[in-house]
Symmetry: C2
């Protein structure tokens, strides 16, 4: 399957990008790459070139998850998601996660509690190169109202929701219907369950 | 946050699409929509308009998962994923899942075994409207070699891998680094674990 008629290995790994066209620069960077394979076959490859994102699973001292309902225009429905957003130029990944948490929910970490990495994961690699760094934040607390980080978010009908792990798991396939949210819950689940088993004040 | 200065609710749910431009029609349909909010604010909304996909978690009679390693040009690396692909026009969701299974792995369901839905989930709703119908296929068996369903797949360096549930879980964050794969494993996990507990021949 991966050999040319002459028996040469023809993996895209060894392809050359001979031309790049930026079709749309902003707010989404949509590009066409002219890709030439090792056997000479050339094709146009289109994708959305996205900056990395940070996503955070915020857990309250009571063991509840802090999530956001919002209206997604591309889906024409409200969905339940975790705070997430683009990492700004020069910004650290943890700083981005905490900024998105504060902006989108109004919550922040309580003093002395740590942010732990849950890993980094891509989404939809046939259409984009989106790479999301996932974190879990222990013992978050409400510091004020959500702020929103862009004009457009004013229209997203966002609402902050505290939800138990059990209720979140029961909502998978219902209001929780994003691959990212389902993946994040499964990554966070062992830690949240462990925290919920701790004795009070422990 | 969701009120205009006059106290009118300004959710994007009530927005009007006043114009649609197809910037690229194929192989990825990239569109711009001119969206007018209820308060009169208008903005350009860009996204990849994608057909629905079907994804299948194939499980062998031995309880192993059938996965695919492939080179992803957008990520510049090999990754471990489940068979998945676009649902063709007029094709049923289950038919699409089984077709992708056969094309990408050469596996098919053994006689009498069923395909069960795991739910439908979107990916990356800020950039696309991709909606993937996930299934689990019980007792799949190898029917022949993988075929590939497009010229371009010849270059994807695809290889079929049988992997235990335990090894797959241990690979999350390593070779299994896609939100879709992590979500699918978490959705399939209870069923696979249950099947693995059955007595032999049961």
């Amino acid at each position: 399957l991966n050999k040319s008629a002459e028996g040469v290995r023809v993996s895209m790994q060894d392809a050359r990008i001979v031309d790049t066209e930026v079709i749309v620069a902003a707010p989404k960077r949509f590009v066409r790459e002219r890709v030439e394979m090792p056997d000479g076959y050339a094709t146009d490859w289109y994708y959305v070139d996205t900056p990395p994102s940070a996503l955070v699973v915020p857990v309250t001292a009571d063991g509840n998850l802090v999530m956001i309902t919002q209206y997604r225009h591309n889906l024409k429905r409200h969905v339940l998601e975790f705070p997430a957003g683009v990492v700004e130029d020069g910004e650290g990944l943890e700083d981005a996660a905490l900024r998105e948490l504060l902006e989108e929910t109004g919550y922040r970490r309580a003093k002395g509690c740590c942010l732990r990495p849950l890993g980094a994961f891509y989404s939809l690699p046939s259409e984009t190169n989106k790479y999301t760094h996932a974190f879990i934040a222990e013992s978050v607390e409400q510091a004020g109202p959500a702020q929103g980080d862009a004009v457009i978010e004013r229209y997203f009908d966002m609402e902050v929701v505290e939800i138990s792990l059990a209720d979140a798991l029961a909502s998978v396939g219902g209001d929780i219907c994003g691959m990212e949210a389902v993946a994040a819950i499964s990554l966070a689940r062992p830690l949240v369950a462990q925290w919920n088993r701790r004795p009070e004040g422990g």
